[in-house]
Amino acid sequence: MKKNLTYTTNAAGRRVPTTVNGEPAIPFQGVGAYRPEGKKYAPPIRSCADYPESGDKRVASIKEALKKAGIRDGMTLSSHHHFRNGDLVMNQVFDACAELGVKDLRWVPSAAFPCHEPLIKHLDSGVIRWIEGSLNGPLGRYVSQGKMKGLSILRSHGGRWQAIQDGEIHIDIAIIAAPTADPFGNCTGDRGPSACGLLGFGLADSIYADRSIVVTDNLVPFPCIPWQIQGNNIDYVVELDKVGDPEKIVSGTTQITKSPDRLLIAEYTAQFVRDAGIMKDGFSFQAGAGGTALSFAIFLKEMMIEAGVKARFVRGGSTKYLVEMLEEGLTDYILDGQTFDLEGVRSMRENPGHQNTSPFTSYNWHGKGNFASMLDCVVLGATEVDVNFNANVVTHSDGQLLHGIGGWQNCLSSKCSILAIPAFRNRIPVIVDEVTTLVGPGELVDVIVTERGIAINPRRKDLIEATRNSSLPIRSIDSIKEEVEELCGGKAQKPRFSDEAISVIKWVDGTLIDTVFRVESEEKP
């Protein structure tokens, strides 16, 4: 299925297949150009008569729940990464599938983590046929080596919602790991021994899947308050001793970076946001939990205090640093997409101004607006950026699949998208002539902040004008690239790719923006 594909060239000039895993695919048509028509997907009608009047939907085991949900060959199972690398559920789910003798399953996680390495045996044996979702660690390597039978499809968080809502992904059975739930299936992520904050990634699945199973290790009597996911969308509830490893779900304390270069990048970024006039009363920003982004928030906070400026809202990934801003009155709200540390979880439980959100509210492109486009600025990372500001987050310059897209593509719709990145990493240039994989079109990337200078996209004449008198080292992206190439000993070699596709990259609207081919040196054993 991966070889002998027919290819077409999309609006970004990238080669993409016309079909993906047997289904027709639409090439990228440009930012904002694709407007599908028709109805959203709808799940089957259910009747209360088929559910216990007592509201008690408990079944004895994962295997029992899968059997009751009618599991069979070729079905699609979904799950969510709110437990990150501490998930203890999905390995058990696929073990149960293997015991039931089911094959050819498609797994649609919002992201897979190194803890899911044991699933490689189920890929090898054919229990899982392919994975559609962000791939990190060993599963990423497995796919890079071309070992997966189907084509991997990488989507953003918003793109996943869009694909489910638009009917591109039909989910037969959704598995929702819940830190606290009641027997009816109401559940929440903000409390319980495996507390993770919120369950927004599982919300679409609970609404659109044929069957949904809640798995918890903290069952409370009805009602579970608050309910982040409604039990009225849930078929079965399974109780386990343990659903997650708390230390790997959220960190006790989020570490800020100690790297002087990253701190410099973070400080330049905050200064840029200030000097460009973005930091003003009532503004909003989003920064992730990476070391540089966290430090950006800390520098910006100092500048906000100094200037007497308050934000209306900040978007998480929340951490204790955002919580401090909320509790010190520097922002009215945190609109949280996922929670990264224990302080974030506590705040979500205690602070009315700490609101949980979902990819529907924040990132979904086929909705009536989304929060990301309302953000005054967002600070993101990237593995590569080219001189036309096109950016890559999924592969390294050597062509290996590294990271999932997360909310990265969705955030690019903010009013000012800033990539805060080192100009090179251990000799590997980050600013290049052309990205290995196109994940974010250059027209949406406004500013590149590196330790060697700040490059503003020439399209953003307003930002160039606003920072004309700034003391920041603002320079052209080509000059930064040339400086780094000279330091690193010339341009890096380009990886040699085979003609075998291993993954396709979806744009936020469901079209194909690029294809990842297997690197020639990555031989299949």
């Binding site: 410099l264 050597d398 330790e451 690193c488 010339g490 070699q493």
Partner: protein, 397 residues
């Protein structure tokens, strides 16, 4: 078979490499690199060319590379080859980068000087971006004895290749004969200042100066290399003035308190009572000799408040600068050395008076009824310059 290794033995040393050379047998080259898919082809030719330039015709060379820049790989190959054959006369000099060459001056600011271990290239690459007044590539205490030969070559190559963005390029050499050997490698390069460790007596400086004179002449260097002697013992403190006056090359006198307090048989305290005499003596000696006085390093990287307090105290004692070991210490040091608003205002009044006196062709500057001495005028001009550079001069002032 003997094998000679340049490089730390940790499993991974980011932006660095490890080179092992076994001199016997037919020539074999083994390259393992984390950046093979980016620079694999050029790495192979770099190793071959470097060996050829060193006239190595046999032996096995293994390179374990973790993203080292070419000048680092070249230095480590040269170091490993010369460990095997100390008499090898060849050098592999990477081309000089145009941005690695810029001037310095006797009286420039030396508020912060950032120590970087000479065998850790990763820390050097971006050091200048943090804008310290000086960068010290250290060959002495920060380098383990086994890494000394490699550090010397890495520092030599870094002086040729790296842009330190205007920071004064300093090298701390070793004590004694090893230090004189360091000079042979370092003086021919674009280095502004040599730090002379553990100086106790003016005669030591005379000896070093003689060596530097010879090397400058031999290599046809026009710009003089400055000295910053470091006093780190009771004897050094008692001889401070003679040391400060021992060479025209001296631009500053620095104090190192770790060794000094050990020499006194006491401990360093936060209050610093035990070193007050030494620091005050050093400032007086430096001032008497007309050079700068530079305080010891502040070594607790996490304690920013302690650093600021320490710099303020140093400034009050009369010091012009402070040592640091982490780039994040640079800004607090520069800020704490900034003149206060009162100092700036006073300096501006003196500057205006000086300019008026010049315009009128008067030899004597006076402010109100008070006559202003030339050194006070000079100091005022420095203060205004510092305030201008730091952007703390208000419009219209």
């Amino acid at each position: 078979m003997n094998a000679f290794t340049s490089g730390r033995s940790a499993p991974k040393v980011p932006s660095d490499c490890r080179v092992t050379f076994s001199p016997q047998g037919p020539l074999q080259i083994v390259v393992r690199s984390s950046v093979a898919s980016f620079y694999g082809d050029s790495l192979k030719s770099l190793v071959q060319e470097t060996l050829a330039a060193l006239n190595v015709m046999e032996g096995t060379l293994e390179l374990d590379d973790f993203g080292a820049l070419p000048f680092v790989i070249q230095a480590r190959i040269e170091a490993a080859v010369k460990m095997a054959d100390p008499d090898n006369p060849n050098q592999v000099l990477p081309p000089i980068h145009s941005k690695a060459i810029y001037g310095s001056s006797r009286t420039r600011f030396r508020r912060s000087r950032l120590y970087l271990p000479g065998d850790q290239p990763k820390l050097m690459l971006n050091a200048g971006l943090h804008q310290p007044d000086g960068i010290i590539l250290d060959l002495e205490d920060a380098v383990a004895p086994i890494e000394k030969p490699s550090a010397r070559l890495i520092v030599r190559n870094a002086l040729r290749r790296l842009d330190f963005f205007g920071a004064e390029k300093m090298v701390r050499i070793n004590q004694g004969d090893l230090g004189l050997e360091d000079l042979e490698t370092i003086i021919p390069e674009h280095v502004h200042l040599i730090l002379l460790p553990k100086i106790e007596d003016a005669s030591e400086i005379v000896k070093i100066e003689k060596k530097v004179d010879e090397l400058e002449k031999k290599h046809g260097k026009n710009e003089p290399v400055y000295f910053m002697p470091i006093i780190e013992s009771a004897r050094g403190v008692m001889n401070a003035l003679a040391i400060a006056e021992a060479s025209e090359r001296n631009v500053a006198l620095a104090i190192g308190l770790e060794d000094y307090t050990a020499d006194l048989g006491t401990q360093r305290t936060k209050e610093g009572t035990e070193s007050f005499f030494a620091r005050a003596t050093l400032v007086n000696a430096a001032r008497a000799a007309g050079i700068q006085a530079i305080d010891t390093v502040f070594s607790d990287v996490t304690d920013e408040e302690g650093l600021i307090a320490s710099v303020k105290e140093a400034k009050a004692l009369g010091f012009d600068g402070k040592g640091c070991i982490h780039p994040r210490q640079i800004r607090p040091i520069h800020d704490a050395f900034l003149p206060s608003q009162t100092e700036v205002e006073k300096a501006l009044r003196i500057k205006t008076a000086f300019e008026e006196a010049q315009a009128k062709g008067l030899g004597v500057v006076s402010l109100g009824s008070k006559m202003i001495d030339a050194p006070v005028v000079k100091r005022a001009l420095t203060t205004v310059g510092m305030a201008e550079k730091a952007g703390i001069l208000r419009q219209g002032e």
